[in-house]
Amino acid sequence: MAKRAANSVVKIDAGGVLYRELNARLRDVASNGVQRIELQNVYGQRYIGTDLGKPVEIEVFGTPGNGLGAFMDGPRIIVHGNAQDGSGNTMNEGEIIVHGHAGDITGLSARGGKIFVRDDAGYRAGIHMKEYQDKKPVLVIGGTAQDFLGEYMAGGILILLGLNLNAGEYHTANFIGTGMHGGVIYLRGSVEGYQLGKEVDVATLEDKDYQILQKFVGEFASHFGYDAVGILKHKFVKLFPRWLRPYGRLYAY
């Protein structure tokens, strides 16, 4: 199944391999000190990158399955294609870079690491991302997103760039930031008030916000060959939670 190359790049043909066997193989290879792994013919194998615990680089050719990089702690995954649902589920450290679009619940419950999606993301991107001390997940979406972006967000940084929207065109997602009680969403372009969840408020950006954007939009642009300065020229809005405990009184007597 695998060919060991001299420069410690390992190529694995994932065609027809069950996800459990594939992930066992990845664990095997990563524990042997390999730096880069190329996965060819990936068709829906789940949880790629989970349970490796090393900063190994995994290039995926094909369509990785649900839960890409779930619970990931360190690796960098580059997808040449689209990602399915649940990428970066509860990831702790590492990077997922998608040269295409991503499905629903991208970055769900992430507690660290970075996810860069070149095109659109599906429903509920960034749902319940969280942060603690120096652990702060970052999700950057180049296109637009569908409803419930940043739902129940408890921490981290979510950046939506809307690069595929035409001038004057708005994001169409509704229920943005519903239940949000931590973290921040930076949104390039415009939304109407009704598109926002009841728990978020809008602010203009301050210097420290622009520093954050410069860093992560800069990384986004370098991954996909865009001009960060051009992207940052446009107006951004900042969405933040009004309350840290939006439902604190809901169940209290």
Binding site: G44, T63, G81, G103, D120, G143, Q146, L163, Y194
Partner: protein, 379 residues
């Protein structure tokens, strides 16, 4: 006795959480094709299901009997078969009757009898009633009144093949690689609220309408009560059955276009309706008043099919996945993109539709225009 669990369950799972898989492909030019690719695609989503149901619907299947109603009927006893065959001879012109060919397949056990019949209504129907209505009534009569018999499909030039097993096993059992059609839908089941039995596998069918579904219809009770007023009786013990009858009622009987039907099954929220232009508000409010009992509550992604059309639809907040792919004249709908890519790596385009908005492929009609994709020109 030898402990078989390491062999049957090498990972020692005590609980596996999964979801149904659905897949559909339609050649909008009407060209028929074999089942190999569809079987590979649905098998690629094997881990979503748990082997308690698999099935396929095929359109353009029986060109030699294209004008006859093709009944596929499951029998749980020979007595059931005798009674139904007498009933069919009494109510139809019987052109042909045969057992559906099967072959022994590992994993497929406790198999019922499955027969197919090609039927004409001829002089049998009474009065002004349309032939299709006559057939619906007969199907309901068999399902409700005759023992040990369930009609799996009842349309012309199409059929449903389904049972308990993984979809690729069901395909092998019925030798589906030997059939051709211009539209195929497929389903792998992970039963949630009802048990896995042959009648509860998807697709569900009435006339040539079929539905495969991922999710659960929590409005099943109220939908079922409403449909009973129109003569549809639910007998398959699975929520999805109501969707097949609902589309027959709304599209065939009430002659509503699919865009309206989507607004009935997955209506916009009241808060969305309030922001619509007045005329549209009036329409949407009227639909919710007239057809409120056909609103499908709960998470769902469905693929509806009938002759000439394949429709993908999700609930309005898209709690179950659906991906669309297009290649030339072919429209693909799938729970996961990887299944489409496996059989068509060079799709022209692929996208994730918005909840509540139908994706429609029609015979002879060009496929929907490409949605906005990453351009970068506006930077």
């Amino acid at each position: 006795m030898r402990n078989l669990s390491p062999m049957n369950n090498p990972y020692r799972d005590d609980k596996v959480i999964d979801a149904c898989s659905i897949f559909g492909v339609m050649d909008t030019s009407g060209r028929r094709f074999g089942g190999e690719d569809v079987i590979r695609a649905i098998a690629n989503m094997h881990v979503r299901g748990n082997g308690l149901g698999g099935g396929f619907a095929i359109y353009g299947l029986y060109p030699e009997y294209a004008d006859a109603y093709a009944f596929h009927i499951m029998y749980l006893s020979r007595k059931g078969q005798r009674e139904v065959e007498a009933f069919l001879k009494d109510g139809f012109d019987l052109i042909c009757a045969e057992e559906v060919p099967t072959r022994p397949t590992p994993g497929i056990v406790d198999t019922p009898l499955i027969w197919r019949y090609f039927l004409n209504v001829g002089q049998h129907k009474l009065g002004e009633k349309a032939e299709d209505d006559y057939v619906v009534d007969r199907v309901m009569e068999i399902n409700c009144s005759l023992p040990d018999a369930y009609v799996f499909s009842s349309g012309k030039d199409m059929a449903v093949f389904k049972g308990v097993g993984y979809p690729e096993e069901i395909a092998a059992y019925f030798s589906l690689e030997q059939y051709e059609g211009y539209l195929w839908t497929a389903h792998g089941r992970f039963p949630t609220n009802t048990h896995g039995w042959w009648g509860g596998a998807h697709p569900f069918c009435i006339l040539d309408w079929t539905v495969v579904h991922n999710g659960e219809i929590s409005s099943y009770g109220i939908n079922r009560c409403y449909l009973e007023q129109f003569g549809y009786n639910c007998t398959m013990q699975t929520d999805t059955e109501v969707v097949a009858y609902a589309v027959d009622l709304l599209i065939r009987k009430h002659n509503l276009p699919i865009e309206i039907v989507a607004n009935i099954l997955a209506p916009p929220f009241w808060s969305d309706i309030e922001r619509c232009p007045l005329e549209k508000q009036k329409l949407l409010r009227t639909l919710r008043q007239v057809y409120g009992s056909l609103l499908l509550n709960g998470p769902f992604t469905i693929i509806i099919a009938h002759h000439g059309e394949m429709i993908g639809l999700t609930d309005r907040i898209r709690l179950r996945p659906l991906t669309v792919g297009v290649k030339g004249d072919r429209l693909y709908l799938s729970s996961e993109e990887s299944a489409m890519r496996l059989i068509c790596p060079d799709l022209d385009r692929t996208w994730i539709p918005v909840g509540g908005q139908p994706i429609v492929g029609s015979l002879g009609a060009p496929l929907q225009p490409q949605p906005a994709t990453m351009g970068g020109e506006t930077i």
